[in-house]
């Protein structure tokens, strides 16, 4: 199988890019895929924390592209819970311009020989960090929240991705609150589909377990009880080409629903 190189991006910060990468990477590895996750958020690395790998970093992305270690293998951190899951951490240096797009392309060319999936965690914004993250990718996942600023930025990012010939980015709608959707105080899945008009890969409900998972450094996709975990497992299956129905977020029926049920005796 040819390696898939997928950039995860959003424009706006704090919508859940890194959480998405950690969970998709882990979920794919749980399905016996060989996965490497690259954190390109130079100076503000976080993917190591979400994976619980922060104490095992010796070399980082900049060391690798500058040939300051023997090979990229020396910088990869292997997950202790799942086989075939690796992280290439970002550097904590201040100079964001230390990385160049050509270096990323060259590195990913090497990684393609060894891995099934290369997931690239992009920094927020549309500057050089974003350019570097997108340069080697052939597919993109856009993460957004059901909020006006996040959707606007997602639209901008979709335009920029298409300009870079990634014509069919996939959407992950994160942090949906069904209680607020029911009160018509939150954009719903249809609204977002209508506005952004790209392929929906998945909807992740707001879930306290995400914070618990981050506290522990253990992606929520491991948690069989968590709704968000289930949503990420579904997204992984869809990425792998399975047709998985979307989760229903209506926990109780409205007036018409109840009337319908009465009529049908259900």
């Amino acid at each position: 199988m040819a390696a898939r190189v997928i950039v995860v991006t959003s424009g706006k910060g704090g919508v859940g890019k890194t959480t998405t990468v950690a969970n998709l990477g882990t979920g794919l590895a749980l399905r016996q895929k060989k996965v490497v996750m690259i954190d390109t958020d130079i100076g503000l690395r976080n993917l190591d924390l979400l994976m619980g790998m922060e104490n095992r970093i010796c070399f980082d992305l900049i060391n690798v592209v500058e040939n300051e270690c023997r090979s990229y293998r020396q910088a990869l951190i292997k997950d202790k819970r799942v086989e075939n899951l690796y992280l290439l951490p970002a550097s904590q240096i201040k100079n964001k311009d230390a990385l160049k797009a050509e270096q990323m392309i060259k590195l990913v060319e090497q990684l393609k020989e060894e891995f099934d999936y290369i997931l690239i965690d992009s920094p927020a914004g549309i500057e050089s960090g974003f350019e570097n993250a997108v340069a080697p990718a052939t597919e993109a996942i856009v993460v957004t929240n059901p909020e006006v600023p996040a959707v606007r930025d997602a639209d901008r990012i979709i335009g920029l991705l298409q300009a870079k010939k990634i014509y069919e980015p996939m959407l992950v709608l994160n942090r949906l609150r069904s209680d607020m959707v029911k009160k018509r105080d939150m954009l719903d899945v249809d609204d977002i589909n209508d506005i952004l008009a790209i392929k929906l890969l998945g909807v992740v409900p707001e879930d306290e377990q995400i914070i618990v998972a981050t506290n522990k450094g253990e992606p929520v996709v491991f948690n069989q009880q968590s709704k968000a975990g289930e949503a990420f497992r579904n997204i992984v299956r869809r990425l792998e080409g399975e047709a998985v129905p979307f989760m229903s977020f209506n926990t109780e029926p409205g007036v018409f629903g109840r009337f319908w049920k009465m009529l049908h005796g259900k």
């Binding site: 006006v148 606007r152 009160k183 105080d185």
Partner: protein
Amino acid sequence: MKLFREDPSSKSQAVERLRLVLIHDRAKVSIGLLELLRNEIINAISKYVEIDEKQMEIELNSTEEKAELVANIPVLKVRRAIDH
């Protein structure tokens, strides 16, 4: 009358605000969108009327409620219509 039709929910406000802001974002981001539109309008109209291309103005305007494409196209001559 409008008052009765309006959906007061914050979600519908979000939808409406996004709709308007994205019209402008998209028009601005794709450099040349208005220029392409202008050229196609000239081509279409020129079959029927002769226009003053230099004086032609085309703008995307918006208020809080709507966005509109405003075209001001001075006509120099109307061509003879040929019925087929």
